[in-house]
């Protein structure tokens, strides 16, 4: 019996290696190699066509003196400052509204979720028409009730906020669902206990609901932050980074440097620096939100 068990165990191991081999190969080719190559690229100047040229830390020096590097970071911060709160408030609000025995509940949820599944390109085309200054639906509505037309995408002060609103519209569906799940998981006893203590509706919300939803809120903040740094197709199609570089996202900037101007080394440097920034910011966010609640 024991001999049989041992031989079964050994067969396990060998077959296991076969099972994980695809991933190991994949990891080496598409994760390890790119990472190492990326680090090498950081210290070189390269446009793919001509041989690589070692330039030491010149890419970093260039980055520190590059106003567009800071501008793209600033733009991303503006985006996040509008997108994240808006997302949380709208998603939570609609989730609370939906969290009751309603007719058509699933229908509402399905429609709110629809923008999530469609391609970002569809959303961008749609909003390009909504936001158009002269012909857009939004401005048509505004001018028909006597309000001035808003330069959504053509004014540097309005452009990034407009994209932030659009991004919220696209993603809020997932977070409504997440909040719904979170709300339904709050044990009823907590509310009963609070009522017994004489808590008002508002108190219940802030002292029971919000803390219990903490994990969901963290998830939203972190996912939205990563999304904000990866923002690409929206500015690429809508504004090309303008007006006056106000919608130049970090991803778009990397894309331009690499594929428009052929500065592979500099683009790789930007990529690594932005990645470190993302990880740092997300790490800090996690600590802060956990500490707050």
């Amino acid at each position: 019996m024991r001999g049989r068990y041992l031989s079964v165990k050994r067969k396990n191991d060998r077959q296991a290696y076969l099972f994980v081999m695809p991933y190991v190969l994949y990891f080496l080719a598409f994760v390890a190699y790119p990472l190492i190559f990326s680090i090498v690229l950081m210290f070189n100047r390269w446009n793919i066509v001509t041989p690589m040229e070692w330039i030491g830390i010149r890419n970093f020096v260039r980055m520190i003196h590059d106003p567009l590097f800071f501008k793209s970071l600033g733009n991303t911060i503006i985006f996040l400052l509008i997108h994240i709160p808006l997302q949380v408030v709208v998603a939570l609000g609609l989730a609370i509204l939906l969290n009751a025995k309603l007719k058509f509940r699933f229908f509402f949820r399905a429609v709110y979720f629809m923008p999530v599944v469609v391609s970002g390109v569809v959303v961008t085309i749609l909003w390009q028409q909504l936001y158009s200054f002269d012909y857009g639906i939004l401005n048509n509505i505004l001018s028909s009730i006597g309000l001035p037309r808003i330069p959504w995408l053509v004014d540097a002060a309005y452009a990034m906020p407009s994209i932030a609103i659009m991004a919220t519209w696209k993603n809020v569906g997932i977070y409504i669902v997440l909040f719904l799940v979170g709300l339904q998981n709050i044990p009823a006893e907590l509310y009963e206990a609070a009522s017994l203590d004489g808590a008002s509706k508002a108190k219940k919300f802030f002292h029971v609901t919000l803390p219990m939803l903490n994990p969901t809120i963290i998830a939203i903040v972190i996912l939205s932050t990563i999304g904000g740094f990866s923002l690409f197709i929206e500015p690429y199609v809508l504004t090309g980074g303008g007006p006056m570089q106000s919608t130049l996202s970090t991803m778009l900037y990397i894309y331009n440097q690499a594929f428009y101007f052929d500065h592979m080394g500099y683009a790789a440097t930007l990529g690594i620096v932005f990645a470190i920034i993302i990880l740092t910011v997300v790490g800090i966010q996690r600590r802060v939100i956990e500490a707050e609640t």
């Binding site: 066509v49 001509t50 010149r58 002269d134 007006p243 006056m244 428009y260 101007f261």
Partner: protein, 436 residues
Amino acid sequence: MELRHAQKFFQVFLVAVLAGCGSRQETANPSSGTIELTYWPAPNIQEIQLADSLVHVWNRTHPAIHIRMQPIPVSQSTEEVLLAAIAGKTTPDICSNIWPGALHDYTQSGGLIPLDTFPDFDSVASARVPAELLKTFRSADGHCFQFPWKSNPVMMFYNKRLFREAGVDSAPRTYSEFLRDAQKVTRDTNGDGQTDIWMGERDIRPIWWQRLFDFYPFYIAASGGKTLFTANAVTYGDESAVKVFDFFQKCYSYGYFPRTFFQGGDPFLLEKKATHFAGPWEVATIEKYAPGLEFGVAPLPVPDDHQGPVYTTGDFKNISIFSTTTHPREAWEFVKFLVTAEHDLLLLEICNQIPVRGDLETNPLFASYFHRNPLMTKFAQQAPYTRGMDAVPDLKEIFDAISQEYEICAVYDRKSPAEAIRDAVDRTRSIVEWNQ
């Protein structure tokens, strides 16, 4: 056992690969002794048609040298295709869609042959091209890697009817005249509070190549023929550049140019704007899509105190021979064939594009063509007074820097022209430094 099989396989594989490489380089057909050259024209219908005819004639009259024509794939830019070909050593022998702005990229990796090493280069080139213009096509090292072929001088198209209705009787020649006429032309014609006719319109997005149709030609005109660089130094940060920025800033801030994207078609064809800066290709476009449009062609406006002829950009396309060729002499013969007077006439007839020749107005061969196409005469007259692009690296990025400043200063009026030019030049200098 396995090792031997592997070795054998490897040997066979190696031979197959080498044989494959060998046959690619071989351009002489052993059975008939003819030399075969590959020629890439530009991927548009008219030029392919022209190339077809020319190659046909050549192959008939030169049985020992056979030219094979291959059009460049349409979905990519020629520059991308050529760069990839240079990197992969799959270049043709000759290409006639060489954009001077990319010349530096092509020559940097040794992709092109210096044409001035051919003994008859000087005589052929100077017989065709005015000396002053020919100089501008040389690279920094003094060699000439491109043979000037055709140009599309950017000039001002204007809508005669819109001018007439606004009380403007001739095309404006200076900035002041332009702005004065703009005031008359730009107006609301149907009383809905929105401007319906504009003096001009430009895409307000800071796309780098858009500057090739506003800032760059205007700067060349205003500066009397200067390009961005002189002897490899950044020299465009001068009075003329500031005047150009100032001109466009006024056009936008006085409301003569719209500050929004135009949707719903081409505004010049729809007769919504009175002036349009373009090259001779626009003539064919207008005749096709807006046959009733009455239009004229004039040189670009210049600053009020301008003296001398009005220059502009030439948007040249030239011919080059690639260094992978195994028969440079024969390739050069074909290049000379492409640029004879008779074939330049075909270029005019079939493609409506201006050959880079000094004798367009004097040579009787072209007289009939210009008689039938009087508007093209304007372009022919402008042709000697054109400039191309500087053969420097990162031209795209430099124009992008200029576009950003143009956007901030001219379109959105947030910087003074002097400041904007200064910042553009600073950025250009750092781009140049980066490449050292």
